[in-house]
């Protein structure tokens, strides 16, 4: 295969991904404050208004915020196909997402459910533009690789999760007689099991061997895991409306899902143990904590199937391990790798003048001790979160952990942006 030497501008301006990465920690801080304002222990009931508001601050304000920015940055790098009209798409997804999340949480905290109609309109607009632009970028790409397939399936899952989310939000706002528990289960499955997991898998295929110097993921995994997980998710959704189906079918499908998810975690941990440069690395440790948390979430969910009398508690623990342990660890770990690289790369692109004037070393852009402190804080937050449903005092420690993490991450990204601006100014004067 030969590739011609003419290509259009690939990388989007650095401001495109950085705006998402800078906004995400603010929502982490807000989520801690929302939980603290709930008045009781929000971890005791994951369906309470404050918990729904705070959870969506994390899933939309932090996780989706970073993932939207990262995809816009990664598509040109991984499949050689940039987002169309990257600046316009960035503004039209970023601003409605912020406003939508704030309105969403305000409606639950204030008990003004009519505001959900405004929230879902803005969130729908943001995701519609993002999904359309990403699909166009994927369609235009000539590269064929496992990451492209996983990102495609992840975005299809996002489209389903968003559609169901909008239906639920409008249903609450208008008081429609919908089957809320069933729709919520489908929404959560597509959002967490599809959009989040498939995207993390697809990105890991690139990021783990590239940045952590591990062998590549085995071929059988890269070619089959994402499609298999997507099919299992569809099976799960297909079984949901049929209460008369034998219970073993749901049991089997859920076991299959967690088995596939665990295979990803186990293989990733194994590859990381075979890395070529065995130096301590905070982002790598965030990644490992995330994989261990995914295994923990699987254990809690499988235990809930075996001991249905403890199902509520075990599923709460699984959700906490999955969102706060798996997703949040991986996303923050990737940020600590991607943000310094992006800043370095955009400065390095200044050419010979930039190199002669001196571009800071990638490892010096965000201080490593700060990343390690954040990692230990993340471990402590996760540990307290797993005890929080049974103790209000411990729940407050979890909220404090989330608050401090938000502040630390915001500070780290601020340092990165400051280094970028100072160096750019110096390069202009050189």
């Amino acid at each position: 295969m030969q590739i011609a030497s003419l290509s259009t501008e690939q990388a989007p301006p650095i401001s495109v991904p950085l705006r998402y990465f800078a906004a995400a920690p603010v929502f982490l801080i807000f989520s801690a404050l929302l939980l603290a304002l709930s008045g009781s222990n929000p971890f005791a009931d994951l369906r309470s208004g404050a918990q729904i508001a705070a959870t969506h601050h994390i899933t939309l304000g932090v996780m989706a915020m970073v993932m939207l920015g990262a995809i816009q940055q990664m598509l040109p790098v991984v499949i050689g196909s940039p987002m169309p009209a990257s600046r316009i798409v960035a503004w039209l997804t970023f601003l409605p997402l912020i406003a939508g999340v704030l309105l969403f949480s305000a409606s639950f905290m204030l008990g003004k459910m009519f505001m959900l109609d405004w929230a879902w309109t803005l969130l729908g607009l943001s995701f519609l533009i993002f999904i359309a632009a990403s699909l166009l970028s994927l369609w235009r790409a000539t590269a064929q690789n496992a990451t492209k397939t996983a990102i495609f399936l992840s975005i299809i899952s996002l489209a389903g999760a968003v559609s169901l989310g909008l239906l639920l939000a409008h249903g609450y706002a208008a008081g429609l007689p919908l089957s809320y528990p069933l729709l919520a289960t489908a929404h959560i499955s597509l959002a967490l099991g599809g959009w989040v997991l498939l995207l993390i898998i697809g990105v890991s295929y690139q990021v783990v061997p590239m940045f952590q110097l591990t062998p590549n993921y085995p071929k059988w995994m890269t070619s089959a895991l994402a499609p298999a997980l997507f099919i299992v998710l569809l099976l799960k959704l297909g079984l949901l409306p049929f209460e008369t189906m034998p219970s073993w079918s749901g049991f089997f499908v859920e076991c299959l899902f967690w088995l596939l998810a665990c295979s990803f975690a186990v293989i990733t941990l194994k590859l990381q143990s075979q890395r070529r440069r065995r130096v301590p690395d905070a982002p790598l440790s965030f990644f490992r904590l995330g994989m261990a948390s995914l295994l923990l979430a699987a254990i809690f969910s499988l235990a809930a199937l075996i001991w249905p009398q403890y199902s509520d508690n075990l599923r709460t623990l699984s959700a906490l391990a999955y969102i706060l342990g798996f997703a949040l660890s991986l996303i923050q770990g990737m940020l600590y790798k991607i943000v310094p690289f992006l800043i370095w790369f955009h400065l390095f692109r200044g050419g010979i003048k930039a190199i002669k004037a001196g571009v800071p070393n990638m490892k010096e852009i965000i201080p490593e001790p700060l990343m390690w402190r954040h990692l230990w804080l993340q471990c402590a937050t996760l540990l307290t979160a797993l005890m929080a449903p049974w103790s209000t005092e411990v729940a407050y420690l979890t909220m404090l952990g989330l608050l401090l993490q938000g502040i630390l991450l915001a500070y780290a990204i601020y340092i990165g942006i400051r280094v970028y601006r100072h160096t750019l100014k110096r390069l202009m004067q050189a």
């Binding site: 030969q2 690939q10 991984v78 590549n216 370095w344 390095f348 190199i355």
Partner: protein, 73 residues
């Protein structure tokens, strides 16, 4: 023909090594790069700096990139 092998190096080392090799590349010479993944962001850098390139996907999963100075029109 100059050659630079950056297979298995973590970012940003491939970029730095390729760029260093380009600094010493004679006007009519070609730089052959061996790399473990297709470096799409490198193409931006090459185009901005006035180089042309041809990428070949090798059967072992690596890539070979031949870089020369673009001809002036």
């Amino acid at each position: 023909m100059q050659q630079v092998d950056v297979r298995g190096l973590p970012p940003p080392e491939p970029f730095i090594n390729i760029n260093a090799a380009l600094q010493t590349l004679a006007a009519n010479d070609t730089l052959k790069v061996l790399i473990h993944r297709e470096p799409y962001p490198l193409y931006d850098l090459l185009r901005d700096s006035g180089y042309q390139w041809q990428t070949t996907a090798l059967t072992d999963g690596n890539f070979e990139i031949l870089i020369t100075r673009a001809l002036c029109k």
